[in-house]
């Protein structure tokens, strides 16, 4: 068992419960009427697990030390986007510029980095921006009910869990625990979402969640000496876009749980492929 009971309690269970409690308390005290606190709750949940388990230092000295701060800034930007009225172009520009800035900190400066730092900065920021904007568009067109927002959160949750498995197979237990921390925060959001009478907008959590998943997989990949292929990491990041299948005419007409199941099944298939490639690469050579 790579994780101890301490890891599970302080790195998953407690953060999930605290996030749910914070959101419910914010709704009770009417703090969440003026601003959607979901992105900040996501960041808080991640930080709780990160610091309680001791997953990194306070002062960033290496590229991967920046991950908790990048997630926090992404959460703040999401809150800012939700407050004002931004047209589509301005929102896209904000996300793209922010992603590029995050990449500047997360991509290492090693001379022998492959692909090169420039390629990784461009590729990673375009991927994060593309997945975020695509998923936000999906949320705005298809998700109008409380159940729909839960579907999006579930897609993000299973992506985080799959990311944790891929990172574990890539011999990066620390980053795997960080992915579990993200999953814990999303579980907290789901708990609050299922209880609250005014559910949070899941789309506002997309930017910090996609930034977190992509960032963890990026730093996990460049620091790995395993044979887990790039495709595993990429598939985990793009898996939530499997929900776009809900836009298909035949599937749009399906009702209730069947529609949800179809929507999530595509994401699950993509994630299953990601994990399968990682497992094959890890154990086929042994």
């Amino acid at each position: 068992m790579p994780f101890s009971s301490t890891d599970i309690v302080f790195g998953f269970v407690l953060p999930a419960l605290i996030v749910a409690a914070v959101l419910l308390a914010a709704q009770k005290w009417r703090l969440s009427r003026a601003i959607d606190l979901s992105p900040l709750a996501l960041a808080v949940g991640f930080h709780l697990a990160y610091w309680m388990v001791g997953l990194g230092p306070l002062r960033p000295e290496s590229h991967w030390h920046w991950i908790p701060y990048v997630i926090t800034v992404a959460a703040v930007i999401s809150c800012a986007k939700a407050i004002g009225t931004w047209n589509r172009g301005a929102r896209a520009a904000l996300i793209l510029i922010s992603s590029a800035a995050f990449a500047f900190f997360l991509v290492p400066t090693w001379q022998d980095l492959e692909p090169t730092r420039s390629v990784l900065i461009v590729g990673w920021s375009l991927t994060v921006a593309g997945v975020t904007l695509s998923a936000e568009s999906l949320a705005q067109t298809l998700f109008t009910s409380k159940r729909s927002h839960q579907v999006l959160l579930v897609a993000l949750l299973i992506s985080s869990l799959a990311g944790a498995v891929v990172l574990l197979l890539a011999d990066n237990l620390r980053f795997s625990q960080m992915a579990m921390a993200l999953a814990a925060a999303i579980v907290g959001l789901l708990i609050a979402n299922s209880i609250q009478s005014i559910p949070p907008q899941a789309e506002s959590t997309l930017f910090p969640a996609v930034t977190a998943i992509s960032g963890l997989l990026l730093i996990g990949r460049v620091n790995s000496f395993s044979d887990v292929p790039w495709i595993s990491y990429v598939l985990v990041v793009i898996a939530p876009l499997g929900l776009w299948v809900l836009n298909l005419p035949y599937i749009r007409n399906l009702k209730g749980n069947l529609r949800v199941a179809v929507g999530l099944s595509i994401s699950c298939i993509v994630l299953g492929m990601a994990v399968a490639f990682a497992v094959f690469a890890t154990y086929a050579s042994q």
Binding site: S62, H63, W110, L173, R174, N223, S224
Partner: protein, 218 residues
């Protein structure tokens, strides 16, 4: 006036171009700079040490052919010893041992951390990751002695600066030294990995790591 402005601009541009270094070159220069922090006032490299060695001294080159540098890590278990203790060694390093008047007077070694190997490929990869040695961020580790004091018969007490994960701490450990028919040194000691910033999994893996050094030179 125009000529004055032109020359001022030319000087300013020259200064600007002369002062700026592209990041890649700076990083390359940093990567080439020796990580060894000698813990002394001097900034000597291992090669320069030989030039200042007194004439009655002998320098012995330490290489993987005559030197073994190993480590043993253990899991936290209810009842010791750990049946799954993990051992490994470094396979790329360079160093010198200096003998003065037949006594070991100085020892220094620089290790390529990415050369660490264990009997299990996954374990090797895990140890190289940011969970432990973080070899991509910290490609070098080093040890340089600051004093070597004779102890019991055939033993010495070596004190020096160990640099690991970019952190330098002073350590002391006993070693058995023999100069009969060559030079032989054996040492086994423990370090607290968390003192060097290797703090992942302290509830699963013991903080103390056993280091072993063996030198046989004829």
């Amino acid at each position: 006036m125009r000529y004055k402005t032109f020359w001022l601009l030319l000087v300013a541009v020259s200064l600007f171009l002369g002062c700026g270094d592209p990041p890649a070159e700076s990083e390359e220069a940093d990567a080439d700079a020796p990580v060894v922090e000698l813990g002394t006032e001097d900034d000597e490299t291992i090669d320069e040490t030989s030039a200042t060695t007194p004439s009655d001294s002998t320098m012995i080159e330490l290489t993987p052919e005559n030197t073994q540098i190993g480590f043993v890590g253990t899991h936290i278990v209810e009842e010791g010893p750990d049946p799954d203790a993990r051992s490994g060694q470094f396979e790329a390093f360079q160093g010198t041992a200096t003998m003065t008047e037949g006594m070991l007077s100085k020892i220094a070694v620089e290790i390529e951390t990415s050369s660490l190997q264990t009997e299990n490929e996954k374990l090797t990869g895990h140890l190289k990751s940011p969970d432990f040695f973080d070899v991509r961020e910290h490609p070098n580790a080093s040890f340089t002695s600051t004093s070597i004091e004779p102890a019991a018969d055939g033993e010495v007490n070596i004190t020096g600066d160990l640099t690991l994960l970019g952190n330098t701490k002073t350590i002391s450990f006993p070693a058995t030294v023999s100069t009969d028919g060559g030079f032989e040194l054996n040492a086994e000691f423990t370090i607290d990995r968390t003192e060097f910033g290797m703090d992942y999994g302290v509830d699963k893996v013991e903080k103390t790591v056993t280091m072993t050094i063996g030198i046989t030179s004829s």
